[in-house]
Symmetry: C2
Subunit: 446 residues, 2 copies
């Protein structure tokens, strides 16, 4: 078994599935099916009191040899036996996905304490209970999917995501798919009886697969240590946090949901700021911040932008958003205009936005865009294209950006060819003109 | 030909397409193909100087008999001849889709004046120039698509949408598809040389097909008349407006884009408020407001809401958003708790959010939801479900809402069965938990 618990969690060689079920629709069936179906090449051992064969694999009633990772999906009252079995066999990490523990109060609290005691006595780390499991990119598109999820995105990339909430994990996965966000690892922390978000975060500073950390937290029990750890990680890679339970009602809900003490939000916010963590206001802003952080957008970007477009109305909205967020929209310099005028139609609007117009010949895109990128009055560019899916647009933006190194963000609508080129170049693509500008502004002046 | 110009525009019996082209990829080809391909059963006459046959229809070089609506897609310098031909034949309305007029300055301005003079002399109304055309639901899923668009949604419904910007029309259509918004009519106004947004708006007060008016405007030339007309329409149906060109840069861009004088935004905002128009801050807020207005959500809704869910984390975010927007989240009353407790698991969180938990038996959803809806402490409900696509959830929400009449909004993720039931009942579905709450709050206290 792995010597480090974090390797056993994110790169296990062997996995046991307690509560593996033959019956479709049961969570224990989904869990086993997910585990064996995404290219995981290690050993997978179903554990079921009835034995027999499940999804073509012989089930054992008790683990005979240790595995790196035990996934436990059994009713709460039977979870202590499963955890004890995994601990006795010498497993490194157990994830209890089942619910009915600390978040349920009463007996649940005692059951959770029992799980923790068994795990600690054996030196086994415990994830959960009351969580959605783990997802990790292993190599070459092979994944370990040890989750309850109905669907997970399997585009590899730099984002490691932690969530106390399972359902928010679903929201994240859905957005990741829409935005083409690539994932490295995901773990759902649930009640965090043993392993906390801070524990995982501490291991991510040196994790080469993780380029960006994204966290949804409802409460941070070990606030002082979190700030210390987060500061260390945030110095090396972006850490984006969404905090649920900011107000009183939200905090009460968080308490009954994952048993978290959400605490006073002003204090939490100050702690995030001290730690250098990017805190998002709501879920949309969280996904925007992760989209920006997961791209090649440099952390430091100046406030003077050009909105470069062939789509008038959406660019007017981008200009409005730029002014709201304190970015500057200077007009192109005379030398830039002199380069642009012979390339674009007479009626092209060469203010800022720089609107080449849909009538601009596609072979003029690249030199025209290069003229704008070359203008020393601009620190960065917001590229906007609605519906004109000509390859030259994507080629023009990526070439001019590569030549000048100027930070670029994009809003693209119904232009799949352009979008693929732009994404492949590491340019973040947002879901509205205003969000593209806000995504740029997030890091402006840093 | 129709006696009222607005009928000729939105329900024409006959259409001419000037500049109809045989060549795929040309706008004049797209326009003709769109016109004949969405179930329009009236006469369609291609007009082309070369004559011949286009898409199986004989083309004429000049119109011999009047049609209701002339769609004109020819180079700017040839547009006056086309408009003159349509006027001479006795057409009721001409839409000039081509660009290179007022928005281009110089000769373009003179050309636009000429179009206007020809149309006015003949008593023909002119839409555009520099626009994307018209889309109208005729009956039973048959549409007139007289647009340049690469794709338009064809789900019939109550929303009539006007846009000065063509590309923003594309954004609207894309969102309408994602959100299942049903359309009645769309017209792109472009430079609005003759027919303005105010002119169309005036005709929509009595238009039975229009339940909601959505407008994207860059400038309002006839501000005083707009306020008068908008007040009259807004008294009968919701009018939602997004104003582009709010700041200085945006206003400059709007001027070169559609030749609009965007004006000082504070004055415009005050005018919108006087008129009873709902003004959206940005494009997301605009789509949210239209989603709410196009649903069965009553205009007046009280501020005390229950967040009713089986998804913990997203509901905590909804609770946070409710507090931010000034809504109240009271706990269920004792009588409600007494009805809920026997129905849901012991560990269900019966605060507010009311989290029935994913383990709640589906046949308990309807009575449990009914208990919450019956609670006199609640004015409305925010329903949230991530990933648990059981029919009973949708049935429970719609039955309890129908029985109590309480305003309901929803956030749903990856639950197609539930979503269809909920939408069919007229409940608006938003794209995040926070947006669902904001959608409710938009009308709270009115």
């Amino acid at each position: 078994v792995s010597s480090r618990w974090i390797d056993a969690l994110f790169a296990p060689a062997s996995v046991a599935v307690y509560g593996a079920s033959r019956q479709e629709g049961k969570l224990g069936h989904t869990l086993l099916r997910n585990t064996v179906s995404k290219g995981f090449t290690g050993t997978v051992v179903p554990v079921n009191p009835a034995g027999g064969e499940i999804l073509g694999r012989p089930a054992v009633t008790s683990l005979a040899a240790p595995v790196d990772l035990a996934l436990i999906s059994v009713p709460a009252r039977r979870a202590p036996d499963a955890v004890a079995d995994a601990a006795r066999a010498g497993c490194r990490v157990a994830i209890v996905l089942s619910s009915g523990f600390g978040e349920a109060g009463g007996d649940g609290r005692a059951l959770q304490d029992e799980l923790l005691r068994i795990a600690r006595d054996a030196g086994m780390r415990l994830i959960g209970p009351n969580c959605m499991g783990v997802l990790a990119h292993l190599c070459d598109g092979a994944w370990l999917d040890g989750t309850y999820f109905w669907a997970v995105p399997t585009q590899p990339g730099p984002v490691t995501f932690m969530s106390q909430s399972g359902a928010f994990g679903g929201m994240f996965f859905s957005e990741a798919r829409k935005r083409g966000l690539g994932l490295a690892r995901f773990v759902s922390l649930g009640n965090a009886a043993d392993v906390t978000g801070t524990d995982v975060l501490a291991e991510l500073a040196d994790d080469e697969a993780t380029g960006v950390v994204a966290m949804f937290v409802e409460g941070i029990a070990d606030g002082r240590r979190f700030v210390e750890v987060a500061r260390r990680v945030a110095a090396r890679k972006p850490v984006v946090v969404l905090k649920g339970g900011k107000g009183q009602a939200g905090a009460r809900a968080a308490a009954s949901h994952t048993g978290s003490l959400a605490g006073r939000h002003a204090a939490t916010q100050a702690a995030f700021a001290r730690a250098g963590v990017i805190e998002a206001r709501d879920s949309d802003a969280f996904f925007d911040a992760v989209t920006a952080a997961a791209s090649d957008l440099p952390a430091s970007r100046g406030p003077r932008i050009a909105v470069l477009t062939i789509s008038g109305g959406p660019s007017v909205l981008a200009a409005d958003a730029a002014e709201r967020t304190g970015l500057a929209l200077p007009a192109p310099r005379e030398a830039t205009l002199a380069r642009l005028r012979p390339l674009v139609p007479d009626f092209a609007a060469l203010g800022n936005p720089v609107d080449l117009t849909p009538q601009c010949p596609p072979d003029a895109y690249e030199p025209a865009m290069r003229a704008v990128y070359d203008d020393p009055g601009y620190d960065g560019v917001v590229a906007i294209n609605c519906g004109l899916d000509v390859a030259e647009f994507g080629a023009g933006v990526t070439a001019a950006r590569a030549a000048t190194g100027k930070p670029t963000v994009a809003y693209l609508l119904d232009v799949p060819t352009v979008e693929e080129t732009v994404r492949r170049a590491g340019i973040p693509v947002f879901t509205s003109p205003e969000r593209a500008v806000q995504g740029y502004a997030l890091g402006a002046g840093r």
